[in-house]
């Protein structure tokens, strides 16, 4: 992914805006291709993958659509790839773009981006559109690679109804 860029700069430095965007795009590409196993390796050990129901709450004490640590991410990926989950086998096709990036926080170790995700989903003659606000906290791992430390996908209609979502946002 961003390894070669990282090798050229200080491996201990915070990810740059450009590096972070390249990382996010590569992640989006993995997800649309259902390439979930490498996706699991993009995370810090304590990283949290969150799809909230409500905005502006303390997610740990609220009901979320997803609140995954590494163990739950692994279980989720296993499920989605197992072929035994009716909602993900056959899978929906998705096409997503992520853009409108701004840096919301930056320190010596991490960069936090806020962006917009536009995702179209297609299955059984249904086309659905799932826009979301999205935020990524990205850190540089020990070997210079970038890692996700937190990803929050807030669907535009998070507190309203969804249809079943048989893939990763």
């Amino acid at each position: 992914m961003s390894t070669d860029i990282a090798e050229k700069s200080e491996v201990t430095s915070a990810p740059t805006f450009e590096e972070a965007i390249a990382f996010v795009w590569a992640e989006a590409d993995l997800l649309d291709r259902l390439d979930y196993r490498p996706w699991l390796k993009l995370w810090t050990d304590s990283g949290k993958y969150i799809v909230p129901v409500e905005r502006d709450v303390d997610y740990v004490d609220a009901l979320n659509i997803v609140y995954d640590d590494q163990e739950m991410r692994e279980a989720r990926v296993k499920r989605l790839l197992s072929g035994f989950s009716m909602s993900s086998a056959p899978p929906a096709r998705t096409v997503r773009t992520v853009s409108r990036f701004v840096v919301t926080e930056q320190d010596e170790r991490s960069i936090t981006l806020r962006g917009a995700q536009m995702l179209a989903e297609y299955k059984y003659q249904h086309m659905r559109f799932l826009p979301a606000d999205i935020s990524y906290r990205i850190v540089r791992g020990p070997d210079g690679n970038l890692l996700l430390d937190e990803k929050i996908v807030t669907l535009i209609n998070a507190e309203d109804f969804q249809f079943g979502i048989g893939y990763l946002l």
């Binding site: 799809v51 129901v53 409500e54 740990v60 004490d61 609220a62 009901l63 979320n64 659509i65 997803v66 609140y67 739950m72 279980a75 989720r76 296993k78 499920r79 197992s82 035994f84 989950s85 009716m86 909602s87 993900s88 059984y124 249904h126 507190e159 309203d160 109804f161 969804q162 249809f163 079943g164 979502i165 048989g166 946002l169």
Partner: protein, 426 residues
């Protein structure tokens, strides 16, 4: 009714569409039947609208539905709950579009008529434009009859209906058992997952008493559990049963050990709750409290299906709302302990997220299955939906280990459809 035929003969009574062991395919897809259901069922019985903790204090409210009718559930200064049609008496604008909140008055945004939380029309702006005989007392928000049982709030359009307690009948015992998840603190709603599927509401009504699908549809959920927990969720293998409770209600016991959460408190704490038990002990809870809380956090082992729109399902409320003949909205309400330990409620939230909701390990597969039913029902207009699995227990009463009315019997579905038939018959 003109359109539905059975074996080429035009059906003259909806009752003909339900037999003791089957229901007709048109029940899923005839829009006229759906419209009649909204009238004959949803305007004629007790319909669940809220849990008491959704409107915890005076002047709190929540918007909800009675069938296809939007309502506001309010609590007044005296603590009394009201269920009001969300429709201004002037020219029909909805008076509240928030999901929940606090309000001591509802002001219609169109011309400013204002209503008290009990529905009384308080004031109309520029009142002198009305003729002298105009009396605000004639135009309150339409108020439904409301009753509550153990925190479950129901409303009805039918003013002369039997009392709620009578309607619930034998289901009350199971509601009381279910509410033991409050672990002595009382039950509180913690949040909601909402999702829809393109299919008829009765497909979901059936599913709450369908243990038969569990090991197949939820294989990937079971695979995500540790071995001990997976054994707990072996729902077909523990001598459970399904019982018709009358009035369309039924209970499906999947894990007999988890019927009464006050029982077996001396049993070893399951591994998956070891961290929680330690955390609670460190917070200073005595051993007996830790055991009670941990057992409550794990939830019950049964689904109580209350006709027509709510289930107390293991550890949450499952609420259905018919949207159209082929679309249904479902709300899974997470519940926890009201004022109980934060760690316990956190554990409840994570357990709920694991199975429920649009990205849970269970719900999307259920929703997909229900959608497939609706899609499949497009074929075979003259065919029937089979509800004949299992035999009824003698006298309608089953006991743990009883060899009849086993957990995968379609007894609960038959109960619901018999109630449907009673209410829909000409």
């Amino acid at each position: 009714m003109e359109t539905t035929t059975i074996d080429g003969a035009v059906v003259s009574d909806y009752a003909d569409l339900v037999r003791d062991d089957r229901g007709h395919t048109s029940l899923y897809k005839d829009a006229k039947i759906f419209d009649e259901e909204m009238q004959r069922i949803f305007r004629n019985t007790w319909v669940w609208v809220a849990h008491a903790s959704d409107v915890p204090t005076k002047n709190t409210f929540k918007t909800s539905w009675v069938g296809d009718q939007p309502v506001i559930v309010t609590r007044d200064k005296a603590g009394q709950v009201h269920v009001l049609l969300n429709r201004c008496r002037h020219r029909a604008a909805s008076v509240c579009e928030k999901k929940k909140g606090k309000a001591s008055v509802f002001v219609c945004p169109y011309h400013g008529w204002s209503y008290d939380v009990d529905g009384k029309l308080r004031k109309v702006p520029h009142a002198k434009g009305y003729e002298e005989g105009f009396d605000t007392a004639d135009y309150p928000l339409v108020s439904l009859r409301v009753e509550e049982y153990n925190g479950l709030i129901f409303a009805t359009f039918k003013q002369d209906i039997e009392p709620l307690e009578e309607f619930l009948g034998a289901a009350r015992k199971w509601i009381d058992l279910f509410m033991k998840q409050g672990a002595g603190f009382g039950v509180k709603t913690l949040g909601e997952h909402k999702f829809r599927f393109p299919g008829n509401w009765k497909i979901q009504l059936e599913n709450t008493t369908d243990a038969y699908h569990f090991p197949i549809v939820h294989k990937t959920f079971l695979d995500s559990l540790d071995e001990e927990t997976e054994n707990v969720f072996d729902v077909l293998g523990q001598g459970g049963w399904v019982e018709d409770l009358g009035n369309g209600h039924s209970v499906m016991v999947m894990i007999p050990d988890l019927i009464d959460l006050d029982d077996n408190l001396d049993a070893p704490i399951p591994d998956r709750f070891a961290d929680l038990a330690r955390e609670l002990a460190e917070e200073g809870h005595c051993d007996a409290d830790v055991r009670r809380i941990v057992r409550a956090v794990g939830g019950t082992g049964f689904n109580l299906n209350l006709f027509p729109n709510v289930a107390c399902s293991m550890a949450f409320f499952r609420v259905l709302r018919p949207v159209s003949v082929d679309e249904t909205e479902i709300t899974h309400v997470a519940i926890g302990m009201d004022g109980g330990p934060v760690a316990g409620n956190r554990a409840r939230l994570r357990l709920h997220e694991h199975f429920q909701g649009p990205m849970g390990f269970g719900t999307p597969d259920d929703a997909e299955g229900w959608e497939r039913v609706q899609r499949g029902a497009q074929a075979g207009d003259d065919l029937w939906i089979l509800l004949n699995r299992g035999v009824d227990a003698p006298e309608g009463v089953a006991e743990p280990g009883h060899n009849a009315g086993d957990v995968s019997a379609e007894t609960g579905m038959r109960a619901a459809y018999q109630m449907w038939k009673r209410m829909m018959a000409a």
